[in-house]
Amino acid sequence: MAAALEVSNLSVARGGVPVLSDVSFTLAPGEALVLRGPNGAGKTTLLRCIAGLQPALAGRIDGAEDRIAYAAHADGLKAMLTVRENLRFWAQVFGQSDISPALEGYALRDLADRLAGTLSAGQKRRLGLARLLVTGRPIWVLDEPTVSLDAEAVALFGAVLRGHLGAGGAAVMATHIDLGLEARTLDIRAYRAAEDADFGASDAVFL
């Protein structure tokens, strides 16, 4: 099967300093990849780069163009809009119309007419993850998706993710929690940029 996402020889920098170099992996449809590594290893940087939010120093990312749904610490929710309005907005932005799977998947039906600002942190997080479902995008790029979720909600998330993968989607995520699904793990410590690696670093020319 053709790869959903192919990352080859990717090098990324944080604050102008290379943190990871030569990261390569492919992701088939239906597959999930979990990034592991200590804080500051470069997980967030790598995910942002895959999502197209920051440029890579070197390397290629194939298959990401217009196929990524990204979720990070900030959920992109408006406190003064209801749950339904928030979801509908993102659905429309991504050219979708049906928000009921998202409401069902994260048990948000009962909360649909509450203002997002009145939700608890965990409920907000569920809404933020539900947003992924209304994008209609096949590749999910998730940065610590389970923050502030309780065990029940993590199970919901696991179920939704399995459904997404089962339907031919794919996911790359940074998480420390076992989601109860078969996922490859990639320890990014192996790609730590060498200390003297200056390729493409913006300030290398000053040395």
């Binding site: 939010l53 920051q54 992109g76 003064m80 809009l81 907005f89 993102w90 932005v93």
Partner: protein
């Protein structure tokens, strides 16, 4: 695009959205003018077009730092970058929403405030026209300024410093229309200049704003 426009309008109208703050500011500034220069009708009449234009401009400026900062805080801005909308279009739409919720009310309120400042009768029409033509330019130029300062903590003051010089041509032509109109002179030359300026700015500034926003969010 429509969804974005509707969302921004809805957010502005809901409580806490800041709708009407600009209008209240406009009212207060206008009210303070007679306190500072004295209540003589002739003096107020002479300065009314300029004061109203300046008041509208400052009211517009006041709301600029909400333009993108709120969307940055809650992460919407980054998510919009990954969305299939062209950023240039998204920013133009957001500027339009800003104009509808801030600029348009100012335009409509100006003639009433004009009465308070003894604005001469024919001046009302020209004040309304010039503000209607000029305030969209203020919104898009402001969008550029907001995009330029989006990643900067406490960038509000910097935003004013950057945007105010860019407002000068619009202010000059706009206030000149109102001034000539209320003095019974022919305002068509500055009116055409103002219209041309606004059209050019509306057409080009969203591209500049999108460029600097992409850089700023990198």
């Amino acid at each position: 695009m429509t969804a974005l426009l509707l969302r921004d309008l809805r957010l502005a109208l809901r409580a806490g959205g800041g709708f009407g703050l600009g209008l209240a500011f406009f009212l207060i500034v206008t009210m303070l003018v007679p306190f500072s220069v004295g209540p003589e009708a002739a003096l107020l009449q002479a300065i009314a077009p300029g004061v109203l234009w300046l008041g509208a401009l400052l009211a517009c400026l006041l709301s600029l730092d909400r333009l993108l900062a709120l969307d940055l805080e809650d992460g919407s801005l980054e998510l919009l970058l990954t969305a299939p909308l062209p950023l240039e279009g998204a920013l133009a739409v957001k500027a339009l929403a800003h104009w509808l919720t801030t600029g348009l009310p100012l335009v409509l309120a100006a003639p009433f405030l004009g009465v308070m400042l003894q604005l001469a009768a024919p001046g009302h029409l020209w004040l309304l026209t010039s503000l209607a033509l000029g305030t969209p330019a203020l919104s898009v130029i402001g969008m550029f300024g907001a995009a330029l300062t989006v990643g900067i903590k406490r960038g509000g003051l910097l935003l004013s410093l950057l945007v105010l010089p860019l407002y000068i041509p619009t202010l000059i032509f706009g206030a000149e229309v109102a001034r000539r109109g209320s003095a019974g002179l022919d305002p068509s030359t500055p009116l055409l200049m103002l219209a041309g300026l606004t059209l050019a700015v509306v057409a080009l500034m969203p591209f500049a704003a999108a460029t600097v926003l992409r850089i700023g969010l990198r």
